[in-house]
Symmetry: C2
Subunit: 401 residues, 2 copies
Amino acid sequence: MTPSTVCYRCDRTYRDTDRVRCDCGEPLWFDIDSHGFDLNDRGDGRGLSHYAGALPLSELEGLATAAGNTPLIRSQPLDEVAGCRVFVKDEGGNPTGSYKDRGSAIAVSRALDRSDNAVGTVSYGNMAMSTAAHAASRGRECVVLVPDDIPPGRLELIGQYDPTILRVEGDYGGLYDEVLELSRELPVSFLLSDAPGRISGYKTALFEIYEAMTPATPDAIALPASSGGFASGIWRGILDLQTAGVIDDPPRLYLVQTAASDPITRAFEADRDAVSALPPEDVGETIAHSIGNPDPPSGTRALTAVRETGGAVCSVTDDEIRTAKRQFARRSGFCVEPASAAPLAGVAQLTERGAIDRDESVVLVPTGTGFKEMGTGTEAVRTETVARSGLSSQLESRLST
Amino acid sequence: MTPSTVCYRCDRTYRDTDRVRCDCGEPLWFDIDSHGFDLNDRGDGRGLSHYAGALPLSELEGLATAAGNTPLIRSQPLDEVAGCRVFVKDEGGNPTGSYKDRGSAIAVSRALDRSDNAVGTVSYGNMAMSTAAHAASRGRECVVLVPDDIPPGRLELIGQYDPTILRVEGDYGGLYDEVLELSRELPVSFLLSDAPGRISGYKTALFEIYEAMTPATPDAIALPASSGGFASGIWRGILDLQTAGVIDDPPRLYLVQTAASDPITRAFEADRDAVSALPPEDVGETIAHSIGNPDPPSGTRALTAVRETGGAVCSVTDDEIRTAKRQFARRSGFCVEPASAAPLAGVAQLTERGAIDRDESVVLVPTGTGFKEMGTGTEAVRTETVARSGLSSQLESRLST
């Protein structure tokens, strides 16, 4: 299959599928016709290859075959917190612990299939780990550009897959345009947050949600948002299922940002058509580092997805995120990263202000596992010490209270 | 369904399904007739409920519905290391990051369905996290007994699910019999490594392996081994599929232990019929703490599984485990815990000595994710620093070498 890419905004199509952005400035995605796409025609494949008919490649190998196929669970104990009927789609179950594996499964595979180039990325978080791991499982080279002051724990997580790691001194946030140019000049394919192949991979999460809930359908889906890539993929999945006749009314897309860096929320609240980069003085520190991007490459597309589906964008504080992370573990049993707890806090806000009804079904998508940044022993935990001889009486008194 | 439990060794059956051990001293498992069990008759359920016909309960809810359904991938780059055709069944994709969720999904669910008791366990690792998380997702109480000197990182991982944590002073290793007695006296159901419900849950991993590989079949399956519970479950799955007519020749079961604590290896090598506890002076320190049990409750059953399937038991050093963990990440893209890397090192030993042939298909089962104990920043990682202005030339020189 040799699909073209297309701009969601101006509809221009391109035969050059290595192209990432339209002449109009917006990011492209693959133009695959989904008329007749059957969600239930799964074929032999597992994971993403179930949906081969809607993807820009047909054969997967290595780690790519392990991506996706994550659980969707109904979590009643979270209803009270969120104020609606909660479903959790746990993307932390992906092989490198985040939804990024769906994107890497398609984008990295496609790049490696099409040339002998190395792959590369600009990230010091989940996307870096995922890209490096997928290249490693194919025995291929990967270059990861990280900021010079990357925390050592993250370096260790990325470094385990043995990519070439370059610490870049200087304006890290501004690397986007430069590496797209380097991709054209050097034998390396940089796959950034809005690479069309990644967006194709992300839409499979939406397909899985519909497949798991059928014959019911979600009223809304709530995602953490940063670059806008994941939201774009989910929206593209919705559009595909509308074309295929599976979806009549699209689910409302709710995006939740960290208040420390929330350019999409600001554009939404100001009723602007486009998302612009936050000035440095408007960007704060946050524990939700996976969603700290102040200049989201797919921000305007994500904003459009929200408007088209009748959703909203909101922001939450680190304190709200900490509470939501605890509630995820204590009420649903999922250990999520701080960024992934944001949708729970955001949905609680939205139900509070009446945007979501109590009897509506809302899918929260924790996009990454919390295990990568836990176990350091810095958190205080309440315990009691008991001598073995006193175990029985101690237990008895605990259990009767 | 009200199944009975049965002893694998003396065939005695019991109507009391809370009973864990036979009068003969060996652990019991559920006696569910698998004649006519159809691996492909999946019904509506996802994960473990696909196999409801072979399980001692039919309805799952909460986190239990997220357990299992983990990927099996073919990993060619590992062939060179292992000396055979490698498949990887990644149990780290379970919701709390280990195969223990399969066991908790059945054992915790069943205990909570049958009474208002709390559940409890004796563990300071994966089983504690899994048991606490499954109880939390049902809004029910959980008691976790840990040793007084538990590392703070583990306490944090367990504590997030908010169980009652009791630090036990005194002989922690000897708690097994005492808590089984407390289960009979107090309103708490302790679910230890060999609880019959856990064993039922574990066999679903074997079902999934056969379902994913069909029409091919594995020649061998290699597991890390400690308490012997997981090996027992995999064996029970094999026996079920033999009864159902799905398996003619059983796959050989290989168990891999840490050389620091390897009672099953010692019994196997000495041609003994039973596994006995290692004396304290024979137990060393190891990075593979998930498989450090010197007195495995299901050790003899696991040894029997190995003998009946024509497999073997072997031990590996921490150095071999460290190397295998790196190879998993660098060649297959999986981040596994040290204990879970052991089967790769063990299989390399076994092919070396001719027990496994080069063209045989061997499924390695990393039982737990490595993310829980990474990201501390203590590991040295090779990087290069580059100024933004020099990025292009630096990349060019790196990519041409």
